[in-house]
Symmetry: C2
Subunit: 228 residues, 2 copies
């Protein structure tokens, strides 16, 4: 084994996939699923009761084959020659996403960004409850967040989460502490992490992490600015 092989092989949990009844669901499909839910809710509210994969695809900005294939990962929901019943498909997608139950979330790190997320009303949708915040300076954080939720010291993570387990954590703390906090969250049973910290977190494959790097999104756009 050459040195190059040693370095290239171990690859940290590359393509996140999850099995549904033996089938692997690509992460790209999962990411689209919530968009499907959103669009179907919109159609339902508009009073649209049936829709074809082609029209649904148009509204999603996708290809009709892709829509049918995405849905086919989870079952057969359409009527050949007709299309899909909006209400029914909406319910199916909700079921697939687990939207029939309340998801409990905590926020770790209530600095500028964390407080920001707390005050952003569009962040938490129906079905999600932000329970607590945690920070190394809960008093300052409480002031900053104009606290709609109680904010505890990070050291109380273990105690609070053993009282009442939560499903997800949003991470918005300094890079130095992020991995240690992630480790504790995993130990405490958190199953999904939305990570706003600009480092790659290492977690067991059973825990799912989405990384949102706001600064990187902005910076990479600068590539497209012409010369001058």
């Amino acid at each position: 084994m050459t040195k190059k092989d040693e370095i290239d092989k171990p690859k940290p949990a590359a393509r996140a996939e999850v099995e549904v009844e033996g089938k692997k669901i690509p992460d790209a499909v999962v990411k689209r699923l919530s968009l499907y839910a959103r669009v179907l809710e919109g159609l339902d509210h508009e009073g649209v009761d049936k829709i074809s994969s082609a029209e649904l695809a148009r509204r999603l900005g996708l290809n009709s084959s892709q829509v049918r294939k995405d849905l086919a990962c989870f079952g057969q929901f359409g009527v050949p020659g007709f299309g899909y019943w909006v209400r029914e498909l909406r319910h199916e997608v909700h079921r697939i996403l687990g939207k029939d139950r309340e998801v409990f979330v905590i926020l770790v790190g209530v600095g500028n960004l964390g407080a920001a997320l707390l005050s952003y009303k569009g962040f938490l949708k129906q079905g999600f409850t932000m329970l607590w915040g945690f920070d190394i300076n809960p008093e300052a954080a409480t002031r900053r967040g104009r606290s709609p939720i109680p904010i505890f010291h990070v050291d109380e993570l273990d105690q609070k989460l053993s009282e009442r387990p939560v499903d997800m954590a949003v991470l918005a703390l300094p890079a130095k502490e992020a991995q240690a906090v992630a480790d504790r969250l995993v130990a405490l049973g958190v199953k999904a992490i939305l990570n706003f910290v600009p480092i790659r977190l290492t977690v067991p494959p059973s825990v799912h992490v989405r990384h949102v790097d706001l600064s990187l999104e902005l910076e990479s756009l600068s590539f497209y600015l012409g010369e001058e």
Copy 2:
């Protein structure tokens, strides 16, 4: 032409690509470029002066072939049998990203999220200047944002941007107004948009949009939460 074809064909500016000296640069490469810059800056500060593609790949969480291939889009920066000079590669990546010039940014929509982004110190990195905010209620927005920058009425967009053109806009306003504002920004010469509004924006192919949907990121994670 069948109806399906009509709907599937027009596809809105699918895969964003940009030419560099005749070569198409995939959007995936561009997205990685800023990460390269960040890691190379780190290495430089650590005092590391040379690095192989394999070790760089390890730090980036990528494959060494991919690193070499990404860089090869822009030229030959390495020394066969040796690796890359960190300082030199860092400068090359900065040059490719256009980091040698200041980028001027505005924020349109200073509500909860917008104000949040303003107060988030990690958002704007060196080389980016947030000039102004715009909101339909500048007074309220100024209070909310604890305003490090002046906030004007959205109606003043035309006037301010003709005084002084800007490169990028960050959009964090209600969905209803987003497309109209985007159209005006494009007309006023904005070349890149970071869109936090949960709708697809339609812009000419010369303008680049990155869409960050915070709510969708969180929601899609719920797929991975087990049964119970």
